[in-house]
Symmetry: C2
Subunit: 229 residues, 2 copies
């Protein structure tokens, strides 16, 4: 049973058309499924077990990490890091207490990659032992703090590229991550992201040192602008 | 120009059909608009200005409240109260610090209305000055606390009727409501409500006093079950 060249071309042509249509249909189905699912919504609970997260910082290592912690395990903390490190353009962070070394490493890495990082923090808690705020400022990251000493800046939220919101009860401390019962929600729902982005901008502007009365110390103006860090 | 009885009935009949169809179409349009908007998503920021919230507790007052606070003003705090008081069946509350008198009043009112209230709180913070946990227990509300003394139950979330989630950075204290920079998110998004409901149940069961070793004090068993409050 042989097939003429014409017939072969016909079968091949029909096959190609069927293939293209199939791929298109699969893409359409994928889009529909994603749309019906809506924007990203992820909930993380803590405490998070201690695992190695080295691979999230250094992608192309020749040798795998030799630390004694479990490897290749996904935890709430590793998910939090993944979301933070997904920033390509900007990271706006509002955090009450920030002393977690690995979260600090992540923020410093983003800054090094050219991501515009802005931090608003609490006036009292930024100077406690172990606070990473000094290290961020030293690296050139713009940090502002609540100006009023009577008020706590108690938020714990981050905005990744202005479109992903990370918010919850979790302060950026080792106790919070490894011991406490805490929650973090990650969402790209515009109705939720929008208000937080607006609130960040409000706090950022309200705590601009340039808008506050300079304090005179020993005859020197003690005003710090964003450029001074 | 007169109309026969038959013609009049025809016109009236057609009118009635058109009216019913119109109402149906409006309902369909309303449903479509609501569905396209998705489930409830509301974001509240604090501090919240002090206003009178008496009308939220007592609906059918003959005389309006005479307190000196502003009346008829909606604030973040009044919205939070509205959402809490919307509970008809159950309220599951996970809160680190609870000393706010009006939030306590709301919880007691729900309990009095027959709403099943369950509270999980922090072991250390439930006994601080001004804590409302004692008042809740006294009223017969079932309260459990984090069993481990080395760990903080740092959540601040509530689940209304198992379908509305209220979560954020806000502890249930006067300072948090009236002074601090805080956020609260209210949502009926099932993908977000579900994990929190599961977490509540997990914490509720994990902190059941019946599952923990009784502590012997002066020869007496110091075990407290849910029924003992």
């Amino acid at each position: 049973m042989s097939m003429s060249f014409k017939e072969l071309m016909k079968v091949l042509g029909l096959g190609a058309v069927a293939f293209v249509l199939g791929v298109e249909w699969l893409n359409w189905l994928k889009r529909r499924l994603r749309d019906s699912h809506g924007p990203l919504k992820e909930v993380l609970f803590f405490p998070s077990p201690q695992v190695c997260v080295e691979h999230l910082f250094i992608h192309h290592k020749h040798f795998p990490c030799a630390c004694p912690l479990p490897h290749g395990v996904e935890t709430s903390f590793s998910r939090l890091l993944v979301h933070l490190l997904s920033a390509r353009m900007s990271l706006d962070l509002c955090v009450f207490s920030f002393s977690h070394m690995e979260l600090s490493r992540a923020i410093l890495l983003l800054h090094k990659r050219g991501v515009v990082v802005r931090v608003v923090t609490d006036r009292d808690y930024m100077t406690i032992t172990g606070s990473q705020i000094g290290a961020l400022r030293k690296a050139g990251i713009c940090v502002r703090h609540e100006m009023s000493s009577a008020v706590h800046m108690h938020h714990k939220f981050a905005l990744v590229d202005g479109r992903k919101l990370i918010t919850g009860s979790l302060n950026w401390t080792l106790t919070a991550v490894q011991s406490n019962k805490e929650n973090v929600m990650v969402t790209e729902e515009p109705e939720l992201v929008g208000p937080y982005q607006k609130e960040f901008q409000k706090l950022w502007e309200a705590n601009d040192p340039a808008n506050h009365k300079p304090q005179c110390t020993n005859g020197q103006l003690n005003i710090k602008t964003c450029k001074d860090r």
